[in-house]
């Protein structure tokens, strides 16, 4: 069963395993062996990691070096090495660019809307599903709600188009009954809601997995004891279930906060034409449209660097916050 696969060997077993490996000498404590012997013993292990490390060096670390373009007037014809230096000019231009501030405002606004409207849904759904006693119904609901997670954004947005777009089924119905039409897909004023509802449709179901697992990990004896003490189902939910979910909820909030500047890149790329750039430009797409699409690479790289730095600060800050709440967050203290 999946549940048993997901379990890790419990702490005692793991300790035993570790001690055993140390004793019988397969991987002894490092200080005991010279690096020469360790190299001979472990070189195939190191060799195995090489392909991944090389790919990461080329496609993740080399671009880090490429960030110097943000401080240049990068010219693709002469390359990074010979482009002239711009100092902080790109950033100066960026901070005077109303389009950039618009993109930042959109990013923060959409992030906030998603936090408020999206975040609680998986928790509520998981709580609801957890009370469904019929195993088959439960499994069926789970398989259905997980499914959209595996759809691409192109597919998801196409489906939304067919449902609530101008030629979609909703407007088809409205037209036939002469009520008038409302095209959600091209209305910049409701764009935040559209984006969020798409995200909910695609990902909220998938989001319940973590919460369901957390719910399954709560000790049922607690429920029984409190029931014996006279707590009804709502009080049990308040005093046992929700505290049991606290760790996971904090972790998910930390992740959300750390990713606050990432609000769904592909969604905006696809729908920008339909709603216009003033509603659909976010920080990620800003780099694309004002960097790559216009060959203004340094400008886009500056916007990207701005986003990366703020994001890193957000991740670290969010973890501090989690630690302050006494939770682990993304990494331990």
């Amino acid at each position: 069963m999946a549940a048993t696969l997901a379990t890790k060997p419990d702490a005692t077993k793991r300790r035993r395993v570790r001690r055993k490996t140390a004793e019988d000498g397969t991987r002894p404590v490092s200080a005991k062996l010279s690096w020469r012997i360790r190299w001979r013993r472990d070189r195939s292990l190191i060799l195995m990691t090489l392909p991944a490390v090389v790919l990461l060096l080329v496609f993740n670390y080399a671009p880090l070096f490429g960030l110097v373009t943000a401080f240049q007037y990068y010219d693709p014809l002469v390359g990074v090495w010979h482009s002239s230096w711009a100092g902080l000019d790109q950033f100066r231009m960026l901070f005077q660019d109303p389009l950039f501030w618009g993109a930042l405002r959109n990013t923060l606004f959409l992030s906030l809307v998603q936090l408020v409207l999206f975040f609680p849904i998986p928790v509520v759904l998981a709580l609801l599903l957890n009370t469904v006693m019929n195993e088959r119904l439960r499994n069926f609901v789970q398989s259905v709600v997980y499914l959209p997670h595996f759809f691409s954004w192109v597919l998801t947005i196409t489906i939304f188009q067919q449902m609530i777009g101008g030629a979609g089924i909703l407007n088809q119905f409205l037209r036939q009954h002469s009520i008038g039409t409302w095209d959600f897909m091209t209305n910049p004023h409701t764009f935040a809601l559209l984006i969020t509802s798409q995200a909910v449709w695609k990902e909220a179901g998938w989001g319940i997995i973590v919460f369901l697992a957390a719910l399954a990990a709560i000790d049922t004896n607690l429920y029984e004891a409190s029931a014996v003490d006279g707590a009804g189902r709502w009080r049990r939910m308040w005093h046992i279930t929700l505290p049991g979910l606290r760790g996971v909820i904090v972790l998910m909030l930390v992740l959300r906060l750390g990713n606050a500047l990432t609000v769904g890149f592909e969604q905006f790329l696809i729908q920008r034409n339909a709603v216009g750039h003033s509603a659909a430009d976010v920080l990620d797409t800003f780099s694309f449209y004002y960097g790559i699409a216009t060959n203004n690479y340094s400008y886009g790289a500056a916007a990207g660097l701005f986003k990366s730095v703020i994001s890193l600060l957000l991740i670290l800050g969010a973890n501090k916050l989690a630690h302050a709440f006494g939770e682990d967050g993304l990494y331990r203290k």
């Binding site: 360790r38 671009p63 960030l67 609801l128 006693m133 196409t158 088809q172 697992a213 399954a216």
Partner: protein, 315 residues
């Protein structure tokens, strides 16, 4: 700094039996009804759109005309749209491209990830901390879109298929998931293999992989879905040459953005009276992108928890 890769969401053995405990109140009628309504709405929200799309792709022009667009109730069924789609060279070529990119990409990703995960999974092996750090750092800092684009195009990736695969071939998250599984493969088993003279390669192939089939399957699925669904790197690296487009990009251009599909109007099939409305053809393309996912989904579904929970949460 150790990643909190362990949420320790172990299923409590006592909570395994879903039967109602004697101390629990019996459910109220209102509660049951409310629950039923919510679940029904949730399920309908996912399934109704899929139903409409599939049905429309199977509907005759007449049915689509009578419905005024998308079809909700079966009215007249035909496979014309699919016939037309499979004679459309743009779509068939895109299908082949998508399949190849997905299969080759998944293969590359899996080989690289499995090797790396095993290489890092033996505790106290030489250098594994440093390599792990190299991996994990990429989850916190990234060069971002433009520097990556410059590196890939600088290596000559523009218009090349490898640009759709290699830059995203390694998912550190997936490696960490695999690694935590391999690390928990019983040390006794591995020692036994070592005693029998198996090296690390042999151990990985004959001991570790066979004992971790479920997680391998899930990670394969995650990679494959990623490749199948990706369209942004097409937009970046081969936006112009429509002969090279994979299916998602064809879907984007011809269905989502409403460009005219070459061959969809005048392919000599429905001269005189149109046999199939373009709408059904469009929906057939939508269905085509769905089919592979629906095909593997039932087999994978029960393992999802494994992949999602082992590495805690994607960060």
């Amino acid at each position: 700094m150790s990643m909190a890769t362990t949420l320790r969401l172990r299923r409590n053995p006592a909570s395994k039996a879903p039967a109602r405990a004697p101390w629990e109140e019996s459910p109220t009628a209102v509660g049951q009804a409310g629950k039923g309504v919510v679940l029904f709405v949730v399920i309908a929200a996912v399934l109704v759109p899929l139903w409409v799309v599939v049905l429309t792709s199977l509907s005759t022009t007449g049915a689509i005309g009578r419905a005024g667009g998308l079809v909700i109730w079966p009215d007249g069924l035909t496979l014309d749209a699919y016939r037309q789609m499979l004679t459309n060279s743009q779509v068939t070529r895109a299908l082949v491209v998508s399949l190849l990119v997905t299969v080759i990409g998944t293969l590359v990703s899996m080989v690289v990830s499995v090797l790396c995960a095993y290489g890092l999974s033996r505790s106290r092996s030489m250098g594994h901390r440093i390599i792990l750090l190299v991996l994990i750092l990429t989850m916190f800092v990234s060069g971002g879109l433009i520097p990556t684009y410059l590196v890939v195009t600088g290596l000559g990736g523009y218009g090349q298929y490898w640009a759709l695969i290699l830059p995203s071939a390694v998912s550190v998250f997936n490696i960490l998931v695999l690694r935590s599984f391999y690390a928990s493969t019983s040390a006794e088993l591995i020692d036994a293999a070592k005693m029998d003279g198996a090296g690390d390669w042999r151990t990985l192939w004959s001991v570790v992989l066979p004992t971790s089939k479920a997680v391998t399957a899930v990670i394969t699925l995650f990679y494959a879905v990623g490749y199948w669904n990706s369209f942004f790197n097409v937009m970046l690296y081969m936006p112009v040459d429509s002969a090279k487009w994979p299916l998602q990009y064809v879907l984007l251009e011809y269905v989502n953005q409403g460009m005219n599909m070459p061959g969809s109007v005048n392919n000599g099939y429905g001269t005189g009276h149109a046999q199939t409305a373009p709408l059904s053809l469009q929906m057939a393309v939508v269905v085509l992108t769905l089919v592979p996912i629906l095909m593997v989904y039932p087999f994978m579904q029960k393992h999802f928890r494994t992949g999602v929970l082992t590495g805690a949460v994607k960060g």
